[in-house]
């Protein structure tokens, strides 16, 4: 009895204290799955860029159009080899020092020496000339401004680096500055007070990394969080029914792909790869696992990637009979155990995937069942994400289910260049190359004129659709939950910037 009284007293105390408000400004509570491992821009730069602590020279709007950020304007020389980025006048770092061309050049030089995307650009020299950062290239590279949007290229104050060039503090130039950081889970921000774009509507932001999707859903549902990123499909349905929450969903340029080893006897014929594609019931996967039928990947790029999604392209379809016919044409015959055989070799392969994205392993087991229908025996193996590149390198990968992002730079040319170049790459083709595609990509790299690019992009997509060096399975979505307390939330499918500075408390 006394214990019951104690419990009741404790419960009342908790209830009372949670009702009591505080005099401090209420922070905007943001929850997402991203942990802040180390503060090196190549590691966690995306957190600081999305939460508007640090800025890049160039940014992108939600449609993918490049827009000025720390660089007011930029230009390229006639020969395409010298790029000039004019630093915005009046931009200031959080330590009060002005953002200079020297500081920007120093940050970019660090990025270029690191492991980020800038290492893929043929840069020969980065220099500061007056108000301009000047990048000199070894050969023309039209996508350079798009590469600068990547979070690895955020511009930090000179005081952020120690003598060896390592980042020890994040001193950026965005509307918010770091108040406190408790790695790997918590980041508290406050208005910097001197952002060139004006003061943010809400002065204090608190970011908490919550790895578990279920916990994130409960954070949203309980009203504890104002803004929650990346919701599991199973939670979205339930949260949609909650009148206090607004669910925003955007298709993002991320595609789940079946990477196949086109050098192996199982996938060396294009008929075999097409047969695999026909055997897959994408509609079933999107309906049962992703709970969003719009995510069926009928081609590599989703509609959100303007200029890269070809709407009149014949879609990838589910047709098991066509799959069986193509496999028979490629010389595979049904064995006594119901598994295909060719020259005494059973069609038995291992499908490797990883659990960084929780939906990949269940999709892999669905593919296992669907491929069994046409006589292909698949073993599913779930490992670490690094096993895909490492087994690509030693040539032992047969099939891998991967999730590939096409907006690492907002121009997918960058990813195509990497994935479908000669000999393929870790997250791209394996044992497959196509001279026409390479010529197209080379031309795209050197061309910035949109009208000139359009037919090249279209042809590249057609080749990938026909040859299927990687078999698209589903596109991806970003689900964001906003509490009714806040207004002005925008979904950025490119995940460059979450626009926190323009979120307001609802009246």
């Amino acid at each position: 009895m006394r214990f019951a009284l104690f419990l009741a007293a404790a419960a009342t105390a908790i209830g009372l204290s949670s009702a009591a408000g505080s005099a401090e400004e209420r922070p905007l509570k943001v929850v997402g799955p991203w942990e802040i491992g180390g503060i090196d821009p190549a590691q966690s730069g995306y957190v600081f860029s999305r939460l508007q602590v640090a800025e890049t020279l160039v940014s992108a709007d939600p449609t993918g159009k490049l827009v000025p950020a720390l660089a007011e304007q930029w230009s390229v020389s006639e020969d395409g080899l010298t790029w000039r980025f004019r630093i915005r006048a009046g931009a200031t770092f959080h330590d009060g020092k002005p953002v200079t061309a020297e500081a920007a050049a120093a940050s970019l030089r660090q990025a270029q020496a690191g492991v980020g995307v800038l290492t893929q650009v043929p840069i020969s020299d980065i220099a500061a000339e007056g108000q301009d950062v000047v990048l000199r290239l070894g050969k023309p590279f039209a996508a350079l401004p798009a590469y600068l949007v990547n979070f690895g290229n955020i511009i930090l104050a000179p005081a952020s680096y120690d003598a060896s060039g390592k980042v020890t503090r994040i001193i950026g130039s965005g509307p918010y500055k770091v108040k406190s950081l408790t790695p790997p889970l918590k980041l508290e921000l406050e208005a910097s007070g001197n952002w060139w774009g004006g003061a943010p509507e809400i002065g204090v932001v608190s970011y908490l990394a919550v790895g578990q999707g279920e916990t994130r859903a409960i954070m949203a549902e309980s009203g504890e969080a104002d803004l929650v990123f990346s919701m599991l499909p199973v939670s979205v349905e339930r949260l949609k029914r909650d009148p206090q929450l607004e669910v925003k969903i955007a298709t993002i340029p991320r595609t789940r792909i079946l990477k196949v080893n086109a050098g192996s006897p199982f996938f060396d014929d294009v008929e075999e790869r097409q047969a695999i594609s026909y055997a897959i019931d994408r509609a079933g996967i999107t309906k049962a696992i992703l709970r969003n039928p719009d995510l069926e990947a009928t081609q590599l790029f989703p509609p959100a990637l303007v200029g890269w999604h070809v709407s009149d392209l014949p879609p990838l379809e589910h047709d098991p009979d066509a799959a069986r016919r193509l496999l028979a044409e490629a010389g595979w015959e049904l064995g006594s155990d119901g598994i295909l055989e060719q020259d005494g070799r059973r069609f038995s392969v291992t499908l490797l995937t990883y659990s960084n994205w929780p939906e990949l392993p269940p999709i892999a087991t669905v593919l296992q069942a669907q491929l069994r229908e046409v006589g292909i025996d698949v073993k599913v193996s779930v490992g670490n994400s690094s096993e895909i590149p490492s087994r690509h390198r030693d040539g032992t990968l047969e099939m891998g289910l991967i999730s590939r992002l096409y907006s690492i730079v907002p121009d997918p040319t960058g990813t195509l260049l990497q994935d479908y170049g000669p000999g393929g790459s870790d997250w791209g083709a394996m044992g497959w190359s196509n001279e026409e595609l390479q010529a197209l990509v080379d031309k795209l790299v050197a061309t910035s004129d949109l009208e000139e690019r359009a037919p090249l992009q279209r042809r590249a997509v057609e080749i990938l659709q026909e040859e299927l060096p990687g078999i698209p399975i589903t596109w991806s979505e970003l689900a964001i939950i906003a509490n009714e307390r806040i207004t002005g939330v925008q979904v950025d499918p490119l995940e460059v910037n979450y626009g926190l500075a323009s979120i307001r408390w609802a009246e």
Binding site: S18, G38, I218, E221, S403, D426
Partner: protein
């Protein structure tokens, strides 16, 4: 007393070397390329992992022969230097300070709550074996122990965060965020400690000295306080030492679902990311805590039970 402390200190030294060596060996025999794992852990699965792995290999000297790496680690340990995390680059000791501190708060709160719940329920049950309180206690104990911590955690979140709206479901920084994770752990602990207490009390209650105390006319409360509690506490306290094991496995799960930055959370990430110094550091800290807990339990038992002291 001095011999006791010296023996424990020696034990701690042995534990440190054994745990460190085991971690080192186990992390080496795990399949997969360490540089690739570390690169994937640092830069995420969207990065060009293979290119990054080459830089990681050079930066960390992973291509050195393993005896050199092991001796280096051992030498550093003797100087109380646990090295730097391979993933975040921060000194392991700094990371441990934050994470171990957070976990100790969580474990202490859980232990305290479990001591408030478990023995209280156990005493009520044990005094009237097979009474309604005992049966209710048994049912509750079986249910709570059978629920895995992540299910229990989610249930508590549903009840206290969504239905009642009293407590935040996750996070850290104040005592309000500490309640749900520590309650999740505490209920699991109390589920068993209440039964241990119940058995101990029931045994004591049947003992002749207990009957004698009653017969000589002492009020029930005085009987329990003077003759019951200390005798019944002996098995309960020894059992608390064992519960430290439950706490260690519990914090790993509980910290993950409640987004709590503790040592369990850190250990899981360090293993996945092949961050050897962090694994060694965290395992070492856990091992030493274990030594401290058992030493504490032994000391408490000796204080409670004079027979143990005489036997020494």
């Amino acid at each position: 007393m001095r011999r006791f402390l010296l023996a424990r200190l020696a034990q701690a030294g042995v534990v440190a070397v054994v745990v460190g060596t085991l971690c080192f060996v186990l992390m080496r025999v795990l399949p997969g390329d360490a540089a690739m794992r570390i690169a994937a852990g640092r830069y995420g699965p969207d990065a060009a992992i293979a290119e990054a792995a080459e830089k990681v290999r050079q930066e960390l000297g992973l291509d050195q022969p393993w005896p050199v790496q092991f001796l280096e680690w051992l030498g550093n340990l003797l100087r109380f230097d646990l090295g730097h995390s391979l993933v975040t680059g921060a000194p392991v000791i700094e990371e441990l300070k934050v994470q171990l501190g957070a976990s100790l708060w969580l474990a202490a709160a859980a232990l305290l709550l479990s001591l408030l719940i478990g023995p209280a329920v156990g005493i009520v049950s044990g005094l009237r074996p097979n009474g309604w309180a005992d049966r209710l206690g048994l049912a509750g104990s079986v249910t709570l122990r059978a629920l895995p911590p992540f299910v229990l955690g989610l249930i508590l979140m549903l009840v206290f965060s969504i239905w009642l709206g009293w407590l935040p479901p996750a996070g850290f920084g104040s005592w309000r965020e500490l309640i749900l994770p520590s309650l999740t752990l505490a209920l699991g602990l109390a589920a068993v400690s209440s039964r241990v207490t119940r058995e101990a009390i029931a045994t004591v209650a049947k003992a002749p000295y207990f009957a004698f105390a009653r017969h000589k006319g002492l009020p029930e409360a005085v009987v329990v306080r003077r003759h019951g509690l200390r005798n019944a506490a002996i098995p309960v306290v020894s059992y608390l030492g064992l519960q430290a094991i439950y706490l260690v496995e519990g914090v790993v799960v509980v910290e993950t679902i409640f987004a709590y930055p503790g040592i369990g959370h850190a250990l899981v990430h360090a293993i996945v990311e092949r961050d050897i110094p962090m694994v060694q550091g965290t395992a070492l800290a856990m091992g030493l805590i274990f030594v401290a807990v058992t030493a504490g339990v032994d000391a408490a038992s000796a204080w409670l039970d004079p027979r143990l002291r005489r036997a020494q």
